[in-house]
């Protein structure tokens, strides 16, 4: 994957913004808006996670933990302590970034399976703590979250939320694209290409991995906070191992090392279960099958595979 054509990436961004702007024309009722919002939220997390998995070549099976901490952080600070929502979001995001920074160093020294298991363990510990400390978090039944309000305005209703999430998504993608094109981003991709050559070229691999880990955690936390306010409610179901797996699947399915792939993956795999609501019981089996089939037949993911096919034999 290269063809790092800055122009083509910015074109992609314009397409994304265009789609986001025009989508409401086909969103006929609140339910569709809700699905679109969910897609947006998942996409934000996936864009960040893709930086870690696709570009830096690491893995995290615990990102729902960061998402959940962002959500619960906002929830607890606003509902129980009456903080203004934006301040709560900032504080929760900062706390998640700090956690990622502290635990990231030892965790990222691990490789492959061990890294996967460590992030898995971290995610599960977070989910258990959240479900158990019911006096703070409301336990398995969850807790209510006040709406997002700032500067005297309250964000309510599917349509308003849609525009906010769409804007945040476009911003997230723009930031990620910039990062990838920058010397920092190149350093990251170099690490993935050949860690030893990158190190010898002066790249401190431990520090770079840690940075991208923290960035991806921040993306997840912000998405979590937004989701908590949007839904007006948060339960531990969003913090589970399965949710972490869903996120990784979206990134992998959509295309690793492809920011737009992450968005597409989120879009497809969020709407698919909704479409399968009639076959709700099959959701899990289908998910598992998708994961397996993708990795066996389309290991680079949907968007890179399609773009290779469309570009003919360019690689």
């Amino acid at each position: 994957m290269s063809g790092t054509n800055v122009a083509s990436r910015m074109r992609g961004l314009a397409v994304l913004a265009g789609v986001a702007a025009l989508l409401p024309l086909v969103l006929v009722n609140n339910y569709y808006y809700e699905v679109a919002i969910l897609v947006g939220l998942n996409a934000i997390v996936c864009v960040g996670l893709n930086l870690l998995i696709g570009y830096a070549g690491q893995i995290s099976l615990g990102h729902a933990g960061f998402f959940g901490l962002g959500a619960y952080g906002s929830a607890v600070l606003t509902a129980r302590y009456g903080w203004p929502p934006l301040a709560a979001m900032a504080a929760a995001t900062f706390a998640v970034a700090a956690l990622a920074f502290v635990i990231g160093r030892p965790i990222l020294r691990l490789r492959g399976h061990y890294l996967a298991m460590a992030t898995l363990g971290l995610g599960i510990i977070i989910s258990i703590v959240v479900a158990t400390e019911d006096r703070i978090t409301g336990g398995p039944d969850g807790m209510a979250v006040p709406p997002l309000s700032a500067f005297g305005l309250t964000l309510a209703g599917e349509r308003s939320w849609y525009w906010v999430i769409a804007a945040v998504l476009v911003l997230s993608v723009w930031l990620a694209l910039n990062l990838i094109e920058s010397p920092r981003g190149r350093a990251l991709r170099a690490l993935h290409g050949s860690e030893i050559a990158a190190e010898v070229a002066g790249i401190d691999s431990a520090r770079e991995k840690l940075r991208v880990f923290v960035v991806s955690a921040i993306y997840a936390a912000i998405a979590g906070s937004l989701m908590a306010h949007y839904a007006g409610f948060i339960t531990p179901a969003k913090v589970t191992f399965f949710h972490s797996i869903e996120l990784v699947t979206m990134v992998v399915f959509g295309g690793m090392a492809s920011t737009f792939g992450a968005v597409v993956g989120a879009a497809v795999l969020t709407t698919l279960p909704q479409a399968l609501t009639v076959l709700k019981e099959y959701e899990m089996a289908v998910f598992g099958a998708v994961m397996m089939l993708t990795m066996v037949f389309m290991p680079r993911g949907l968007v890179p595979t399609l773009s290779s096919a469309l570009n003919g034999r360019r690689r």
Partner: protein
């Protein structure tokens, strides 16, 4: 006045002494070649010099400062760059980006700046790309400036690694078998390139099997055998050393 000094360097792996008891110094601006049979420890030595391995014993002193036991990126920051015997090209990036990565130490860029991309960064990027392209032309890769790394032939990739190493503007350049797997024409090209590099004042430590190349270009030669120094000196001294002839050069000594 030596740029690089190695004192009592040793490295062992689970009881096997890959390198033992090595002493040599490399004056600045010279070409220092390391030869020896396969398994003699040449790549291990380069790994030690670039920080990929930490020494089991002994010291590496670079520009007067000890450098042993530090991470590879710290060796790079001190001014050491290298190429790899088994290509370690970034195949997930374009050729130009490979060279740009070589410049990482000279393109400081904070995380926030990277994400927000202020105009200064865009300007710096453009300049960096121009300089990288110039470097690619210098090593003879004019035809491949716009190519993806995974579309380039082997000979071009060997040169790409050299361009990448040069992009770091190193004081010391470690070349690990740059002519390996190249045909005579390509080897001649590498020969010329290394001469140009040597003339431009970079100190080069060269590991090579190609005796013509080594004899023609070196100021000093170190002969390694089983991780130990077999002989060291100028081209003439090494060429005529009976131990070397017996152990390594054999009939090729007259070539």
């Amino acid at each position: 006045m030596s740029l690089l000094e190695v004192e009592g360097l040793a490295r062992e792996f689970g009881g096997v002494n890959a390198i033992s008891d090595l002493y040599f110094s490399v004056p600045a601006g010279t070409v220092f070649s390391i030869i020896g049979p396969n398994g003699a420890g040449k790549t291990t030595l380069l790994n030690l010099l670039s920080g990929v391995y930490a020494p089991s014993a002994g010291q590496i002193v670079f520009d007067g400062r000890p450098l042993s036991g530090r991470a590879p990126h710290e060796h790079a920051a001190a001014g050491i760059a290298r190429t790899f015997q088994n290509l370690q090209v970034f195949f997930n990036m374009s050729a130009l980006e490979n060279v740009l990565v070589g410049r990482t130490l000279h393109d400081p860029c904070g995380l926030l700046a990277a994400m927000v991309r202020p105009p200064r960064l865009t300007r710096d990027e453009r300049k960096a790309r121009e300089e990288a392209a110039t470097l690619m032309r210098f090593v003879g890769l004019t035809d491949w400036i716009d190519a993806d790394a995974d579309a380039m032939p082997y000979g071009a990739l060997k040169r790409l690694e050299i361009a990448r190493a040069l992009a770091a503007q190193p004081r010391l350049l470690l070349l690990d078998e740059p002519a390996a797997g190249l045909n005579p024409v390509e080897t001649q090209g590498i020969d010329t390139l290394i001469s140009r590099l040597a003339k431009s004042g970079i100190t080069v430590v060269l590991v090579e099997h190609n005796m013509r190349l080594v004899m023609g270009i070196s100021d000093h030669i170190l002969v390694l055998d089983y991780g130990k120094c077999l002989a060291e000196g100028t081209v003439e001294q090494v060429r005529n050393d009976p131990r070397v002839i017996e152990a390594y050069l054999g009939a090729a000594a007259s070539a």
